[in-house]
Symmetry: C2
Subunit: 160 residues, 2 copies
């Protein structure tokens, strides 16, 4: 089991967008340039964030993306769901039914209860962390000094 790399890309794209001045917008091309990953794929990811209501898009010339909420209201969990979907990690294949010699899906999967409980604890952790949490961690961490250059770079690339 592995969490998609698209999730990481999305989170850091949001962290970048969080440095945008209000009302400004950043083109997808610029974002992928700064994150050094493939432009077309990253944009596909960002579009998922748009659908999830996390990011606002502006079409046409001078278009681009920006956060549609305050970063403290964007939970890591929300990002996860936007990218990976809200289906649970575990889904039964009805093996217990076979074990009990019942018709398929005639009984609930005992294991599912346990797996859902575990997943619930996992989710709750991700609900308590936001993009803002990461931004603060960054500013209080050893790479504090690297933030300024990024903001400067944003000034050049942003529009509106």
């Amino acid at each position: 089991m592995h969490i998609k790399s698209g999730f990481e890309q999305s989170v850091y794209a949001l962290l970048l967008l969080d440095m945008l001045p209000e009302k400004a917008v950043l083109p997808g091309e610029a974002i992928s340039e700064h994150l050094s990953n493939s432009p077309s794929y990253l944009q596909k990811l960002i579009r998922k964030l748009v659908h999830a209501g996390i990011v606002t898009s502006v079409t046409g010339v001078k278009g681009g993306f920006k956060l549609s909420k305050k970063s403290k209201d964007i939970r890591i969990y929300d990002v996860y769901v936007a990218i990976e979907g809200n289906q649970s990690m575990y889904s039964s294949n009805g093996v217990l039914s076979s074990l009990l010699r019942l018709d398929k899906d005639d009984c609930e999967c005992l294991l599912e209860d346990i797996m859902l409980e575990a997943e619930s604890n996992w989710i709750n952790t991700l609900k308590q962390k936001t993009i803002s949490t990461l931004a603060k961690d960054l500013q209080s961490g050893p790479f504090d000094s690297k933030v300024k250059p990024i903001e400067k770079w944003i000034q050049e690339k942003m529009v509106l």
Copy 2:
């Protein structure tokens, strides 16, 4: 992200083995027959459980498998690790390094801390549940009556 179906198969195979009388052994063929999944693949899974020290195998004629511990000492987490490996769900691709314009892996992934914390909570839940937990759930549930026939069937198929 999705947990492999092999995990479910393994857990219920163990639940079946838990019904074996002491010292008795059940051939892999019989197990897959009762779980109605492919024999060769299930045996491959069971061999992973053997490597993990959860199941004991006996080779040769009258060979087969049995639990190598009490079912209350087989945590669901142990089964998970045996099948899926003990690498964590999340692994960074160094996107933060790109964001900060550093050489790859020159900084720790901020997101990783969060993801590991969440995963830790997930793991702890699975460490508190065992195969014995499931066995008890089964006996106290609505399909209690289905257990007897299985034990009878085991009497026919087991060896030693």
